[in-house]
């Protein structure tokens, strides 16, 4: 019966008459939904890496994240091994408790910042892209690449320009920016943090902020404890250097120096970063906007931040305590076997299409390489950053 139904479909009525090229990442394209169905993360077009079958995602270049984790673990480890026993004996046993709590908090928020989807916008489907193109370019002349396109909207009496993203084939919503490292448009894009190995955007900004604030407390706490420890030892002995060299087995000098140095530099830099981000949160700005000076009115015109609620407390609450938006990229969803997401709408399954091997339009892979109507992606990437 399926074959009979298929015969009656007129291919001319399908909205994407040109078949897209066959894509490798899906492997054997299953024509019936048997065998191992692919999940959508297999065909995700951005430069991200996925682990645990799509549950965890990081940017492709996550090179410095191990360093960040390593520094935190080493410094905290040294603190617990060498400073805590002494301080528990001479001061109070709350020290390892507080230290432990801060350490756990820091590591958890770091991992959450790194592994959470920052608010990636999925790329436009070919139909959407075609519709937008139709609206913009009514001349029908596409022999050359059109100039960068912008659209203006008025938000709270402020004119905001929306740019067209050539890679994702859509007009970027306000405050969205395309990260060239991850090759994704990210909502409320703050910055791409190499220490965390991920973009910081709408969905993980609160994790990032909590991470840097708790890290500043943690490094300040360790720094304080190490200095207290050394001063207590110095009081008991013949000076600081003697205290440090007292007993290599019990208190090795190089390790103390390592702790002090790391903490000293971290405290100032992380505290500074926390302060800066506290300012951003209080004025409902992103790092991207602050750096570009989007709302500073430097060109003399009367511009104000249209997203700010003009109240520090309300701004903080809306940024940090607002509702958690959902992830828009359905990483663990299954690719439809009949690949009818593009052709017949998401709700309709026309099983006949699965038998047609030439029509390879899939929700995911069609976003990987631009279909024939679109301009080549090499031009898109250079302009979309």
């Amino acid at each position: 019966m399926n074959n009979c139904e298929y015969q009656q479909i007129d291919p001319r009525t399908l909205p994407t008459p040109t078949p897209t090229p066959h894509h490798g990442p899906v492997g054997d394209r299953p024509e019936e939904p048997k065998g191992k169905p692919s999940r959508k993360w297999h065909v995700f077009p951005g430069k991200n890496r996925f682990y645990c079958d799509g549950r965890i995602m990081v940017a492709r270049q996550s090179g410095v994240l191990p360093l960040t984790l390593g520094l935190i673990l080493i410094t905290s480890g040294l603190f617990f091994i060498f400073d805590c026993p002494f301080l528990v004996k001479h001061l109070t046993s709350c020290i390892p408790v507080i230290g432990g709590f801060l350490f756990v908090f820091v590591v958890i928020t770091l991992l959450q910042t790194s592994f959470t989807d920052p608010g990636i916008l999925p790329r436009a489907t070919p139909d959407e892209a075609a519709d937008i193109e139709k609206q913009i370019d009514n001349t029908g002349n596409t022999s050359y690449r059109p100039p960068p396109r912008t659209k203006e909207v008025v938000i709270n009496q402020q004119v905001v320009k929306l740019k067209y993203c050539f890679t994702c084939k859509m007009f970027r919503p306000p405050r969205t920016s395309h990260c060239s490292l991850c090759d994704n448009c990210v909502e409320r894009f703050d910055h791409h943090c190499p220490w965390v190995g991920n973009c910081v955007g709408k969905r993980n900004y609160r994790f990032f902020y909590t991470f840097i604030v708790s890290l500043s407390f943690h490094t300040a706490f360790i720094f304080g404890c190490v200095t207290t420890h050394l001063s207590l030892r110095a009081q008991g002995g013949k000076g600081l250097v003697f205290a440090l060299q007292e007993s290599p087995g019990r208190y090795p000098l190089p390790l103390t120096a390592v702790e002090l140095v790391i903490c000293f530099f971290s405290v100032w830099s992380i505290l500074g970063l926390s302060g800066f981000h506290t300012y951003l949160v209080a004025s409902n700005l992103t790092t991207n906007e602050d750096i570009k000076g989007s709302w500073s009115g430097k060109s003399g015109e009367d511009v104000t931040n249209p997203y700010s609620q003009r109240n520090i407390f309300v701004n903080c609450c809306s940024v940090l305590c607002g509702p958690m938006p959902p992830s828009l990229i359905d990483r663990r969803g299954f690719l439809p076997a009949d690949e009818s997401v593009q052709t017949a709408g998401a709700d309709i399954e026309l099983p006949d299409l699965a038998n047609k091997s030439e029509i390879n339009v899939v929700g995911g892979p069609s976003q990987l390489a631009p279909p024939s109507p679109a301009p080549p992606s090499s031009q898109n990437n250079s302009s979309s950053a």
Binding site: P15, D131, R206, C317, L320, M324, G345, I348, P371
Partner: protein, 158 residues
């Protein structure tokens, strides 16, 4: 020319996709999720303006409810912060609950209102909350589909 379908099942079996209309986001109030209520011209002959506008307005209300910053969201946020956000792994957030309501609403609307008129709404979450995609179907036997497809193929043949 209004194509009559009696239910969603009939739509699935006897219709072919003619065109898609995209309702874009309305950013005039900021980055909160709202869709434009402007009635697209392609739907003139298909559905009453009021029905369409009511659907979009209801969806907008649902999204406003999901993104409302008030007592409950503060509580959720503070609780989440105190547990290092681990609670998000176990608990369904209010936003997700509202999204489920929206999905049900869209399905209901499709079954009751849109499918009998040869239309189908796609849940915006499946399009990254960028657009409401409305698919327009023609009866397979009708000859009107060729005009729809030629306009679509014209736009995709760039």
């Amino acid at each position: 020319m209004a194509t009559e379908f009696h239910n969603l099942q009939e739509l699935r079996h006897s219709a072919s996709l003619a065109n898609k209309v995209f309702i874009q986001r309305d950013y005039s109030e900021g980055t909160t999720c709202r869709f434009q209520t402007k009635f697209p011209s392609e739907l003139e002959s298909r559905i009453e303006r009021k029905l369409f506008e009511d659907t979009v307005k209801t969806l907008n209300n649902y999204y406003t409810e999901a993104e409302k910053i008030g007592g409950q969201s503060y509580l959720e946020g503070c609780l989440a912060c105190s547990t290092a956000y681990l609670i998000f792994l176990c608990m369904e957030t209010r936003y997700e609950k509202v999204l489920k309501k929206i999905s049900k609403y869209i399905q209901e609307q499709n079954e009751k209102i849109f499918a009998p008129r040869g239309l189908l709404i796609t849940d915006p979450i499946e399009r990254g909350m960028r657009v409401i995609e409305i698919s327009i179907y023609e009866d397979r036997g009708s000859s009107g589909s060729s005009s729809g497809s030629s306009s679509v193929s014209g736009s995709t043949a760039r």
